[in-house]
């Protein structure tokens, strides 16, 4: 028999991803977890109970390359914020956030969870969030790579969903300055009124603004509803990578008397 923990880490990850997606180590159907498809459901449950349930909120974070690493003098204090049952889980789940001392999210950091040779890895996203699903109950060690001395030991029961928070701290002499890198962002027009923020760096939080009209924004994209009044209006986006950097770009949008919109 092939032991999972004897396989290369990449292969382990691939197999675990398949296992997570198709419903854990048991042969049961993930779409009909045993606890939901109990042969004697309570009467209040609708007959459609075995239809596909909504996707669990704690789907595994797709692995991306870390863009940030623990620096000399930097460490993280972790704590468990909440533990709650989640019947949708085949095993258990860990979710959490990494923030700096001012509550700003820290994206791009590699986070690992390990147990007896089993390991999974994720990277915090632009809001500082990361998440894992683990196959079974047990004792897991959660750490930010490079700061294993401050790892958290988590006792997870079956269907437990635990939320943790890591707060960054620094040795007093080594607190870094913000805006560590010079970064850029550019507003690209994708249609008459649709715009997108374009930057080669991932993980930014975007904040759009416009000096007239209204804006429907979602992340890196925005759609402008111009005002009726002709004039020059400023569309601006701020791309914020937390301590790593910040970039701003703006476009002048000119509304003509005939309602036409041109870029100044």
């Amino acid at each position: 028999m092939i032991r999972l923990d004897k396989l290369p880490k990449k292969v382990q990850k691939a197999i675990l991803a398949v296992i997570f997606f198709f419903g854990g180590t048991s042969a049961s159907c993930r779409l009909c977890p045993p606890i939901v498809c109990d042969p004697a459901p309570p009467p209040s449950v609708t007959p459609m109970i075995c239809d596909p349930p909504p996707m669990p909120s704690s789907t595994p974070t797709p692995y991306v390359t870390p863009t940030s690493f623990v620096a000399p003098g930097q460490h993280f204090t972790g704590k468990i914020v909440r533990t709650a049952p989640n019947a949708d889980l085949a095993g258990a789940a860990i979710q959490g956030t990494v923030v700096d001392q001012y509550g700003q999210p820290l994206g791009g950091l590699p986070v690992t969870v390990t147990r007896d040779g089993w390991e999974a890895r994720a990277v915090s996203d632009s809001s500082g969030a990361f998440s894992f699903e683990v196959p079974e109950a047990g004792t897991y060690v959660l750490a930010i790579e490079g700061d294993e001395a401050n790892a958290l030991t988590l006792e997870l029961g079956l269907h437990d969903e635990v939320t943790v928070e890591w707060v960054e701290a620094w040795d007093s002499s080594q607190v870094p300055l913000p805006l560590a890198e010079v970064r850029t962002v550019e507003i690209v027009r994708h249609g008459r009124l649709a715009f997108a923020a374009d930057t080669p760096w991932s993980g930014a939080r975007y904040q759009w603004s416009v000096s007239g009209g209204t804006l429907a924004e979602e992340g890196e994209s925005a759609v402008w509803q111009p005002p009726a009044r002709p004039g020059r209006y400023l569309l601006q986006v701020v791309a914020d990578w937390g301590r790593t950097g910040l970039a701003v770009d703006a476009l002048v949008l000119i509304v003509g008397r005939d309602g036409s919109v041109t870029v100044g």
Partner: protein, 534 residues
């Protein structure tokens, strides 16, 4: 099929590639020029290479920050023309020849130092690689006869760095730059860059010009004779209608009293040839004297870019400028009194900048730029290949990055933070071509053209309006800068939430201000255009 394709930036006519082309053509080789002003031009350059199928492609890298774009272009050219010889030249490749050949197998060679005769010899011996070892000024990868020329095998070749080639002793012996297409025109005026000299007699720490030339045998600063220089001006004047000569000399003047003699000679020659033209020059603050610059203005020198560099004596010392703030102030005041457009730039952040230096620089900027006589230009010292400051910071272990792009941190965190805030909030206004600072600078050029070359249609109110507009932009920048300075002195600069929020706020204020003023500048330009149409 052409012999050589020379590729370089062409915001203004590229004199480097044009001098190379002129020498090659003088010896019977066919040469084409290709414009690579931004990365977006890459496809056009590759297309031109495919059509002309040159045996050798020369890439002229003027600015180090563009080296990655040129290297990416070299890779595309290699794919398009696997057998062409690809060589790199310019300041940065001169100082990083071995590293570039080591790391970029698409390159066959690097032409170091002044390139005209090294490139010529390379073209002459292109089919005889065994003879490349005798080409002074060339670095190349030795590839054995048995090795095929696939890129993967190029790493294996030994890198050979030949001794430097002596400098061109007599600049008059060079042909005039090859100008295949008419020079650019604006507001009905043809304008061209040219040089009357090469090299500089000073040794500022941030500049690679001295090391570029002094690594070869010969006199570092050399001048064309005045008749030879004016011959080229007359040719451009009569053949292409050029009436605005933009001198791009490293330093326009010779050292000491010799500058008076050169100016007198040039004045007489221009008068004799009856060239009714205007000029722009670059010089040092200690070149500026009232009598000399009055004379220059009478000759048609309407703009001088003065290498002031700092409003702090401490910084001027660390930059090794051999000038003082008093000299800088005097130089700009003389130019203002004379009535010459006085452009200047300040390196307000350098590896040794202190809070006191910044205070002094801000005061200097307000004093010299607050009235709008020229748009403000300020920034951080970048550490370029071949500069004395690079050597020093390497010795001190203060650099991060690598030879393609070095970086450093200013020891005082308040000063470092101010630089970071400035680049985050003021990038567009100060450093981008479409930014207001650059646009104001262009408007001043336009004003010079109207004032001196369309004098009958010039209205002093145009000058007043532009000065008022530029003063508002300058003072807005200074006000924001003062706020940033105050912030770095008194707030928690390690608080990323606070710092980022402030940077975004300043950027927003600048963008809103610029939107309004850009519209005014546009109106001003339309007025100028209307006047010239009448």
């Amino acid at each position: 099929m052409t012999d050589v394709l020379l590729v370089g930036a062409e915001e203004l006519e590229n004199l480097g590639t044009r001098y190379l082309a002129a020498v090659l053509r003088q010896h019977g080789y066919s040469v084409q020029l290709a414009a690579f002003s931004t990365a977006d031009d890459a496809d056009a350059v590759v297309w031109q290479a495919k059509v002309t199928r040159p045996r050798l492609i020369g890439l002229s890298v003027i600015f180090q920050y563009r080296a990655p774009e040129f290297l990416a272009l070299a890779a595309s050219l290699r794919r398009a023309l696997p057998k062409a010889h690809i060589t790199l030249g310019g300041h940065f490749p001169t100082f990083a020849a071995s590293e570039l050949l080591r790391d970029f197998p698409v390159l066959d060679s690097v032409v170091r130092g002044e390139g005209e005769f090294t490139l010529l010899e390379l073209v002459q011996k292109l089919d005889a690689p065994a003879a490349w070892g005798s080409i002074l000024g060339l670095s190349f990868r030795q590839i054995s006869k048995s090795a095929n020329r696939q890129i993967a095998n190029r790493y294996a070749g030994e890198i050979v760095e030949n001794p430097p080639r002596p400098l061109v002793a007599d600049l008059d012996a060079l042909p005039f730059p090859a100008r295949d297409t008419p020079p650019q025109h604006h507001l009905g005026v043809g304008y061209s860059p040219l040089v009357g000299s090469r090299g500089c007699h000073r040794d500022c720490t941030f500049c690679s010009i001295r090391s570029f030339y002094s690594s070869s045998r010969g006199k570092v600063q050399r001048f064309r004779s005045v008749p030879n220089l004016v011959d080229e001006m007359a040719d451009l004047y009569h053949r292409f209608g050029v009436r605005f000569f933009v001198f791009n000399d490293d330093e326009w003047f010779p050292a000491g009293p010799a500058r008076y003699e050169r100016v007198a000679e040039l004045e007489a020659e221009l008068k004799r040839r009856r060239l009714d033209a205007i000029m722009s020059i670059k010089c040092r603050a200690d070149d500026v004297e009232p009598d000399l610059f009055r004379r220059l203005l009478d000759m048609g020198v309407v703009r001088a870019y003065v290498g002031v560099e700092s409003g702090s004596d401490h910084s001027l010392q660390t930059l090794n400028k051999h000038t003082t703030v008093a000299q800088n102030r005097r130089a700009l005041e003389i130019l203002h009194q004379v009535g010459m457009l006085a452009d200047f730039g300040l390196i307000i952040f350098d590896p040794d900048s202190t809070v006191e230096d910044l205070r002094a620089n801000l005061d200097f900027l307000r004093e010299m730029g607050g009235t709008g006589l020229a748009p403000l230009s300020f920034g951080r010292m970048e550490v370029y290949a071949g500069t004395p400051v690079l050597e020093r910071l390497q010795r001190e272990g203060r650099l991060t990055g690598n030879y393609m792009a070095w970086n450093y941190t200013i020891p005082d965190p308040r000063v470092e933070m101010l630089w970071r805030l400035m680049i985050a909030a003021m990038r567009h206004r100060q450093y981008e071509n479409q930014g207001l600072a650059k646009q104001c600078s262009i408007a001043y050029y336009e004003l010079m053209m109207v004032k001196y070359l369309h004098a009958g249609r010039y209205d002093p109110a145009l000058g007043e309006a532009l000065r008022d507009l530029v003063a508002r932009v300058n003072n807005h920048s200074l006000a924001i800068f003062e706020e940033m300075f105050d912030f770095t002195l008194h707030e928690d600069i390690r608080n990323s939430a606070l710092v980022n929020a402030q940077a975004a706020t300043w950027a927003s204020r600048i963008n809103l201000f610029d939107m309004e003023v850009e519209a005014e500048l546009q109106n001003w330009r339309e007025q100028v255009a209307q006047r010239l149409k009448r």
